[in-house]
Symmetry: C2
Subunit: 650 residues, 2 copies
């Protein structure tokens, strides 16, 4: 085969070693300079030099209360029942909070304890002690004292301290200048709002990294994508170095493929320090130093590029900016299922986390490095260390939160069958005055029942049809959920059918057509209610699974089935009407079925679950579901019982 | 007495009730509008409507590895030892990661498992399974699926999800517009870089609140201070309301004094909802609604104004912006001393917190509402609830961190006598590559010994002179620190003397002058080493404390003593040379003394303590101390033993 020169990885390094190597290679004192900024705009910056107060605060003895200023010595005879009369000017002066103490006065008596006699006399019934209710000069700040040491990160309060100490300007470390260079012949610039064709990808990693770098206080420039051309890439690096950039990041091209030019580009201007880190995702990360400045190659997959940024570049940016690292809050979660992992590599696992009962449960999200949505959907990331071969189901694992800790108590954990109405439910829950976030993981109806048994969700969505009884869900609950009392509430009756290409070009009329030669089917995974329904229909039609082309090709959601049909990867698949409609496909109805929520009785009074149940009694929500097409809401919100079937059967 | 009309407080409300009252009075849906922003700049904003994907991602089946694309069905016969030969174009096509899958191909074989034969043939030794190393269309995002529900706060990852789903613009809630109006005849505008005279104050609260509001994602405008004039204040409020401001904050003027016009100003345009909250600091907070918008009066004291903002306004701004509240991390700290508190009021106590051994210790900072530096110096704020009468020493208290949790392990806790060299130590510790933060609390040498006994500091600074033996610190250690083995390391020998006005106008020559008529002294607190030294000198001179005017007037630091002399509140006080020099005062030497660090042996190997000890062997640090004047560094860093005295005594 013909193949251009391929890069050879340096040996992959543990992340911490890679960071150390870069820190050692950089001369921070030479690289990072200081600048002077107004003190009142300095919050978020890091002081480059110690700051000493110019003024004291207060600059004078002042009244700390509204009332009268007196000389304490003149008030010693005042007693309850034996009031002392004071004369204006001679014995007292009215003062408000903040007023300077009049000459000869060393105490303030609160207005509430002063009895007016006439316009120029008052009485008091207790003596004042010296310096009572007086803010003394320098009480807060004494001129010349140290306000802040060098390298102190300034916050909002500190702005008040600086201004109170008469500091108008401060010397701070300059912001780290970052330039991000997206690369690739196939990438489209999102700023041009492109419509991607086959083989084209809307580039977004550069903007994700830019946003994260800004969050670290860097000054960030993202340029337009550069094509996979060594000269163009070299020119882009030269421009960046000439502009005084402290960190240049090439997005993509950091691997060892024939079109991965980042390494060679760095070598034209400097030295490669690290090529490959012992992390997954994130392995093909690259670090180099050119003209004393840091240059990085971030992998092309979105999650890899985030791991590269957060694990490798963030510690370096923090160090360059002399900030102290901002570790994310850590929680202990119970894994809902086993996760294998390779020895020798730190794996970063995205988890959907919520508090269920008295524990935090963590459901692993798809592990593909290409799925940016897993980061959007995750509440935490767990690091499975290089020394571990993975984690068992129900193992307790330490995970770093990517959301505020308080949010975990606002998350409704739903595990089970996928249905589009769950999206509407998620939206409605967030529309509440007191919003809840639905974290929904799609593992099929049986997966949901499994989660209920393990106490790892607030409810499960299920539409398990039992051919023997013609009933839904209850036969499975009886069999698999002994000891976990649940209440079954209907969400909707929905239509399942065969999703086919627009105009139904293959003329598919029903399940018997699946065995027809040339018809390629796309299946759902085992345990899915849709799969059970299909298997029943296939059996009823007297067809053997072996006769169905594509029976062994499984997808996990209705939408993924529809997507296969849309692209021609399959001719048909069983799914819901809403999925066909969403992608402009046709639909051959096959069956109506009940889609229920299975709720442990223990959670029926849990506010998050109550919020869901309340929604099921909201006409506006029923109307939204009706508008999707393919749903009936006649049973919505109704508590179901064994034998209820579709409600119209008896 | 003559006094203008005073406002009467409405009954003070618990904070939570005040927030509820404002939420009830506001029509959020009418007040807050939406706007459209580019998706790539939307991080930090909150979605006003659900977002559905326009594109799938990937938009095509693509190679997930560099290698060759094949039809899996054609590879089934390949076995180890029995390679299968494939022909270019007919059987395989080279692909790089991200390339669209060629027509007829459904699997990718990694380049590492492909053996080149010639330019147009390769061999493989194991079969491919269908969809191996292929990213399928819609694997990450399926067009039309819900990406985010309404009211979702967008983060950096979400930007990637939006762009990958073909979303170029999003509808978000507009930023809450906040205008901050500083008020007061006595305040100076910091933007003019003023030099305050008596009775004048540099206004800074407005900028502290502005910085905090920006941190909450608000759009903030701070205007120049408005004088205490009802018409000018009314005009400022009208302008703010006309400009469409959602929240107008008047800084100061919210109390019930004769010049507190905020309440009357609000009443001219709307209604006062809350006047007075059951909080300390923060009580004189004010909330009103004018033309459907929120108007607040923040108290004039800096800490009160911060409490008003954080406890009252932050929940309302969070609610208006539809964000979820960002509770601060909570820790449990052991209080180092008893704190009384008033029943019926939530008290917010600033704490200096650090980890000492295996516990977090919290030392209460000065409680005055006027001391903005207490917020700069605190690591946490504890709320002593209205139902509690305070907290005992050694009580465990829940506190909210105002710094990142990881910082607590970087804090060196020093309790004891104050010395200016500690400021230099703090600065040097922050200058390390691996910086530590010195949290130094000044309670006198005996207070430091007390802290050592309670295990609530890493070391104490002490200069306790024992008149009987002429030795320093050891006699006190023997008496008060039985069972706590400590190592004593000298920081410096320092000069104590009488701090006097420039030119020494009273002609003070020594301690005998303290008894002279007309000489006003300022003392240090009991337990301070300086106080013990003074008492000894006074006794030696045959003077009775009653003869010393001001003997009962105590300050806690050398700087505060010097400040008293500077302002003429006292004619002299005992203190160190550095304090006199810092304020341009004169100094009458009285004694040399040893200032030591007392370090529990248990902490000698603690990295924070090691860092301090290392510094004491650094010539540059000795030179900085020498430059202060009034210090000798001949013993610096030396481990001291009983009887060592000043090292020159034999």
């Amino acid at each position: 085969m013909s193949e251009p020169r391929r890069n050879i990885y340096l040996r992959t390094l543990p992340i911490e070693d890679a960071v150390t190597r870069a820190r050692t290679a950089l001369d921070r004192d030479a690289l990072m300079h200081t600048e002077t900024v107004p003190a009142h705009e300095a919050a978020g910056r890091v002081l480059a030099a110690p700051v000493y107060a110019r003024f004291s605060s207060p600059t004078f003895h002042s009244a700390a209360m509204d009332g009268i200023a007196v000389s304490a010595a003149k008030t010693y005879t005042a007693r309850e029942g034996s009031p002392l009369t004071l004369a204006l000017d001679a014995d007292y002066r009215p003062v408000n909070t903040g007023h300077p103490m009049p000459e000869g006065c060393d105490a303030v008596i609160m207005i509430e304890q002063v009895v007016p006699v006439d316009d120029t006399h008052v009485q008091i019934e207790s003596p004042a002690f010296p310096w009572q209710h007086v803010r003394r000069l320098g009480e807060d700040i004494v001129a010349t004292e140290l306000l802040f040491p060098r390298n102190h990160p300034l916050n909002a309060y500190d702005v008040g301290t600086l201004l109170s100490g008469g500091i108008w300007e401060v010397e701070v470390w300059e912001k780290v200048r970052v330039r991000i260079i997206p690369t690739g012949d196939e990438v489209l610039d999102f700023t041009l709002r492109p419509e991607p064709g086959a083989g084209q990808v809307v580039e977004s990693n550069s903007q994700v990294l830019a946003t994260m770098a800004r969050g670290l206080g860097c000054s960030v420039e993202r340029i337009a994508p550069v094509r996979d051309d060594p000269e163009a890439l070299h020119a882009a690096l030269r421009d960046s170095l000439d502009a005084g950039t402290h960190l240049t990041i090439f997005c993509a091209g950091s691997s060892a493929g024939s079109k991965d030019f980042t390494r060679a580009t760095i070598e034209r201007e400097g030295e490669v320090l690290v090529h490959g880190i012992a992390a997954m995702p994130g392995k093909p990360s690259l670090l180099g130093v050119c003209r004393g400045r840091l240059v990085a190659g971030a992998p092309g997959y979105p999650v890899s590029s985030v791991v590269c940024f957060e694990e490798l570049l963030t510690p370096l940016l923090t160090w360059l900016s002399r900030r102290q690292s901002q570790a994310r809050p850590v929680v202990e979660v119970e894994l809902t299922r086993k996760v294998p992992s390779r020895l020798g590599i730190d794996e970063f696992l995205r988890l959907s986390v919520g508090r269920v009962g008295d524990k935090l449960v963590g459901t692993p999200l798809a592990r593909g490095a290409g799925n940016i949505t897993t980061l959007s959907r995750a509440q935490a990331v767990a690091r499975i260390p290089a020394a571990a071969e993975g984690a068992e189901g129900h193992e307790r694992l330490t995970a770093e939160l990517t959301v505020p800790p308080a949010l975990l108590d606002r998350i409704v954990v739903c595990v089970g069958s996928h249905d589009n109405t769950l999206d509407l439910l998620a939206d409605e829950l967030m529309g509440r005055d007191d919003p809840f976030r639905l974290a929904s993981t799609h593992v099929g109806s049986m997966g949901g029942i499994n989660a209920l048994r393990n106490g790892s969700c607030h409810f499960a969505g299920a539409h398990l049809f039992d051919p023997e009884t013609g009933d839904y869900n209850f036969p499975f609950i009886a069999r698999f959920l002994e000891g976990v009392p649940v209440t079954v509430v209907n969400l909707a009756i929905r239509h399942q059918g065969l999703i086919v290409a627009p105009g139904n070009p293959m003329g598919i009329q029903g399940v018997q057509d699946l065995a027809r030669k040339g018809v390629r089917f796309i299946n759902r995974q085992r345990g899915a209610g849709t799969r059970i329904l299909l298997d029943w229909h296939v059996r009823e039609a007297g067809i053997s699974p072996a006769e169905v082309a594509g029976y062994d090709k499984e997808e996990y959601t209705h939408m993924a089935v529809a997507a296969n049909v849309l692209t021609g990867a399959a001719d048909c698949g069983l799914g819901i009407h809403a999925a066909a409609k969403a992608l402009g496909l046709d639909f051959v109805p096959l069956a109506r079925e009940r889609y229920d929520l299975l709720i442990p009785n223990a959670f029926l009074e849990e506010p998050r679950v109550r919020a869901v149940l309340d929604l099921l009694h909201t006409p506006a929500f029923a109307e939204r579901i009706g508008n999707l097409g393919g749903y009936e809401t006649t049973l919505m919100g109704r508590v179901m019982h064994p034998g209820d079937g579709l409600g119209d059967m008896g």
